[in-house]
Each structure stands twice: as C-alpha cells, then as structure tokens.
C-alpha cells in the first residue's frame, strides 16, 4: 500500500486524481455489495433459505450428523485402543478403556514374529495381489472404458449388455465353476488363482467409460489422427494424461476390492504361504475356537489395525480423487 502511494507521487497529478476516483468507486461498490449481502441475509433469515455461497451453519444439524460420525468412527477407536492391550487385558478390561499395560509395541512385534513371521508373508502376498491384480484391472478398465466411450465398434452393445448382466451374477455362481476350472488348469493354490479373477472390475470399467466420455474431447482425437498419429500413440500421449484423475479413482477402488477380497482367496488358496491378510487374520481368529488352540485376539486386533492403515492413509491422501472421480461418474444423466 505504502509502496503504491510512493510510486504514484512520481506520476502526474491527473493520474493521482484518477486513482482517487477509482478508489472511491471501489469503496462505493464494496459498500453496495455489503448492503446487498446484509439484505440477502435478512431475507434468508425470513424465508429460511441460505445463500449457497454463504450458508448459515446449523448447530442442530451438525450435532445430528456428529452422532452418525461417531457411529462410523467408533470401531476405529475401539480397534486402536484394543491394539494396545495384552490378551489378558483384552478379555478382562472395559472395551473402550485402556488396559493395565500399554502393549502396542509388544503386540506389533509379536504380530510380525508369531509363527515364524507368517504375517509379513501375508502382507507381501497382499501387496503382490494388489500391484499385479488391481494394477492390471485398472489398465484393462482404462483401455476398455476408453474403447466404449470413444469408438463405435461392432459388438459394443453386446459388451455393454454382458457387463450389466454379469454384475448381477452372484459371486458364488462364478466361484464354484471358477474353482473347478482353475483346478483343472492347475492354477489353484498359486498366486494366479487370486490375480486373474481380480483383473476384471466391471465397476472400474463403468467409471473409466463415463470418465473417458467427458474428459477426452473427440475433436482432439480427430486432430491427432489427421496428423497421422497411430491409435496407440493418440491414446498414450493425448488421452492418458487427460484421464489421470479418473485413473487414480479407478485404481483406488480396484485396490480396495483386491486388498479386501475374502471370498476368492478363501476358495482358491489352501496353502497358508499364499494367503492374503484377510484370510490369515480370519485363521488367527478361528484359532481361539478350535480345540486346544491358543486365543490370540490381541494379535488379531493388532493385525487388523495394521491391515487397514495403508488403505485409510490412501483414502485420506487421495480425497480429491475419489470425490471428483465419482462426481464425474454421476454427471452422466
């Protein structure tokens, strides 16, 4: 401000006058805006309508929603608190209070060392399934969605109908014959039994389809083709960058689906060494109810906490993407 006025002293007097006039006009405009806003607020108070750009916040509604938020978040709190307890404290002390000893570090160490460190193996397995399975699913969904959105090829309608139909086929209807088929090919009990079915994500395809339709202008593709670029070159250099936010969203959802998959590995994998985290945790939980089995609920809880942390962090960091990506999916009307 001061710098501006000192610099204006060097300019002719008319300019200064102009500036004064401009400042006065600006002041008057702001005054008018403030007056309008006040009037708007008064009217809003009467009619109960809140200006969408400047809403009145409601304490009552916040409290009601807070109740629901507590419902959503309290299992996380329960998990965190109980991960700090020893097995003895877990069964004897109040569920939402801390135990007599703070055993979080001991629990984490035991989770990773119990049974020759099998938990680490399960974690690595899960990562492999996620990287190859969900990564592959994302790639297939990107290409397929792009094809459905930007090309009118023979069989396009059939692809659409088959995918819609397949969504409503129960998982078990597929799982039993899938298992028998994979068994015949000698693929059960190998990582492939987990990875290959994970490659298909109808929801991911749907997201990428809607997203491609909006994010990639057809004129841009036409221009690239006129310039003589091949279809794949056009795809890599023009479409992929435009699709980036949609790709992150699709990847996030396929990763969650693979990371959280329980049914598929349950039927496909019998060898403990290939288990993902979900099956492993369930096995540890069942240990308490088998005859002569040692209850290790503290390890189950700590292991559960370790299992969800990466996904929770991913969702917190990528908020912008899963929100905007889904919003893109909803634009289609």
């Amino acid at each position: 401000m001061t710098a501006a006025t000192t610099s204006t002293t060097l300019t002719p007097a008319e300019l200064k006058a102009h500036e004064h006039a401009a400042k006065a006009a600006e002041k008057a405009r702001q005054k008018r805006v403030a007056k309008d806003e006040a009037a708007e607020r008064r009217r809003a108070q009467k009619s109960g309508f809140a200006n969408v750009n400047n809403p009145r916040r409601s304490v009552l509604m916040t409290i009601l929603c807070a109740i629901f938020a507590v419902y959503c978040l309290f299992p996380f709190v329960y998990l965190m608190i109980n991960a700090t307890k020893t097995q003895a404290d877990f069964t004897s002390t109040f569920g939402l209070g801390f135990g007599h000893t703070f055993a979080l570090w001991d629990n984490i160490v035991t989770v990773f060392t119990y049974h020759n460190g099998i938990f680490g193996r399960w974690l690595v397995n899960t990562l492999i399934y996620v990287v190859v399975g969900a990564g592959g699913a994302t790639l297939l969904a990107i290409m397929g969605g792009y094809a459905l959105a930007k090309f009118r090829f023979p069989g396009r309608k059939a692809v659409f109908a088959v995918i819609i139909g397949s969504i409503s086929v129960p998982g078990i209807a597929l799982a039993v014959p899938q298992f028998l088929l994979f068994a015949k090919l000698g693929l059960t009990n190998t990582p492939w039994a987990m990875i290959i079915p994970s490659l298909i994500s109808p929801f991911g395809l749907y997201l990428m389809w809607i997203f491609s339709e909006q994010a990639v202008p057809t004129e841009l593709l036409e221009a690239a083709r006129v310039d003589g670029a091949s279809e794949f070159r056009t795809f890599w250099t023009i479409s992929l960058p435009l699709l980036a936010p949609g790709i992150v969203t699709t990847a996030l959802f396929t990763i969650v689906a693979t990371w959280n998959n329980y049914f598929l590995p349950l039927i496909m994998l019998k060898d403990e060494a290939w288990y993902p985290l979900t099956i492993g945790l369930n096995q540890w939980k069942d240990q308490a109810s088998t005859a002569g089995g040692q209850a290790i609920q503290n390890l189950v809880i700590t292991g559960s906490l370790i299992t969800i942390i990466p996904l929770v962090i991913a969702f917190l960091c990528l908020q912008k993407y899963w929100q905007s990506g889904l919003a893109a999916g909803a634009v289609k009307e």
């Binding site: 750009n53 629901f68 959503c72 069964t91 078990i172 028998l180 559960s304 991913a314 969702f315």
Partner: protein, 310 residues
Amino acid sequence: MASNDVTAAAVSRHSSVARVNRHKADWRGWKFMWPFAVVFVFVFIIPIVYAIYISFFKKQMIGGTRFVGLGNYAALMHDQQFWSSVGRVALFTVVQVPIMLFLAAAMALAIDSMKLHGTKFFRIATFLPYAVPAVVSTLIWGFVYGAKYGLVGSLNDLLGTNIDMFDPNVLLASIGNINTWEFTGYNMLIFYSSLSTIPHSLYEAASIDGASEWQIVKSIKLPELRGSLAITVIFSIIGSFQLFNEPSILQSMVPGNAITTYYTPNMYAYNLSFSGNQANYAAALAIVMAIITMAIAYAVQLRSMKEQMK
C-alpha cells in the same frame, strides 16, 4: 404384385443406403477392448457356461457322474434349507437396504447443504468404513458384540442388563448393522456426487423465486437423487442377496449353532461344494440365485440404470 416388387426394391435400396450411411464397420475400438474382453470371457463367461453344464449332472457314489437333466433344479424346489436361506436374505434386504439408503441420502443431503460445521470431516468420516475389509469390520463388530469379552459384555456388567447381540432372534439385525456400517458411506458418496453436479445457478434462481430450503430439497435435490438411487438400490440388492462374508466370519464367534451352514444361499452353496462335495447341486443353486437376483434387479430399476448408462 408389381407394386409389391416396387416397395420391396425401395426397401432394399433404402436399407443399402442406410448401410452406406453407417460407414463401414469400425473395428479400431477392439484394439483397446480385447484385453478386458479376453480375461472377461475366461473368468466370467466360461465359468458361467460351465456352471450351467455341470448343473445337469449328479455325482454318485456308484457309477460316477450321471446326467440328470433338470433333476438338481427339481430337488432344489423342494429344498427347505435353500428356501429358508432365500427367505432370510430377502428379509434382510427388505429391512437393511432401506435403512442404509435412507441414512446415506440423509447424510448426503446434510453434507451437500453446506450447513454443517466441518463438512469435510463428515464426508471423510462417513466414507472411511468403506476402506475396511469385510473381515476386519466383522472382526471388530464381533468383538464389540461379544458378551464374554466384548463391549456389549462390559456394558451388561456396567448396567446390569443382559443384551445378547448373538441371540438367534437378533443375529440378523446384528449382521445388518455391520453391513450398514460398511456401506452407508459408499452409498452416501454416490448420492453426494450426483447432488454436487446440480448447477448452482439453479439454487440462485430458486432463491430469487423465494423458495425455502425444504422446497429446494423437495423440488431440486430429491429428483436429482432418483437417478443415483437406481444404481444404489440395485447394487445393494445384489450385495445383500450375496451375503456371505459377515455371517461366515461370525460363525465361529457366535456361540452354538446360530449360524447354520445354510444361513444364506451363498453359504449354502459354499458348504455344498467345498465340504459337501456336491458341486453340481451347488451350481444349480447358484444359477437359480443368479436368476432370482437378476429378476429382482430388473424389476426394481435396472431399466432406469440402463437409460442412465446409454
């Protein structure tokens, strides 16, 4: 006769013109579609066809596998256990899905109204359970429900009550609560996304016309939700008819035999094929369930979803 020929010629010429106008077939799309299509055929189409095929056979102690035609299906029609499991998931669907979708829509409207303190916090808090695997959420809730060591047990000690979330009469509601916790946020997000696509100019116009907040909700927001409601209803129905993870994980935590091997159709099929060695019968069951699910999904709203995806 002659006029007939003329019209026939006209029709054929017309159709050939149409064909010319439609350009020649454009196969370029398959360059991008084929990887998905190939894997899809391998993990979806072939298994479904195979399931239909084996459902016509029966494995016997003597004489190996024998063709029985529709025998498995006929047996299924009289299978009390199967129908009780279908009834259970139908009841579950009728009660749980409306509660969950109502909560999700209410939450979406509240967050979209921008009247909350800390909108961002509520959005993430509601959605976060979706990131939790079914195994982990069932484990947590199972521990919470536990009367011996869980939170409910502690509360019972504290208040002198005798609440039992694993009581056979309450069990389905307990499972419904787990599902509601897991998926309300996901449905909320779908609703919220469709609400956030409403142009703000519409609200401004409404406010100039002097519409109240409730009128805006009723005349602008709720109609907008109808499109996404179709998707959420269908996914929820399909999801609850396939109920498997939660009851099967709870099975060993619930005392006694409250969760039977035929608690849901999916559990029944799983137990038939993997411990009962009746894969053929299980395949028939799975196909019947697929048909029931598809019929209901169609009846409810698949039509409107199809329109939306066109």
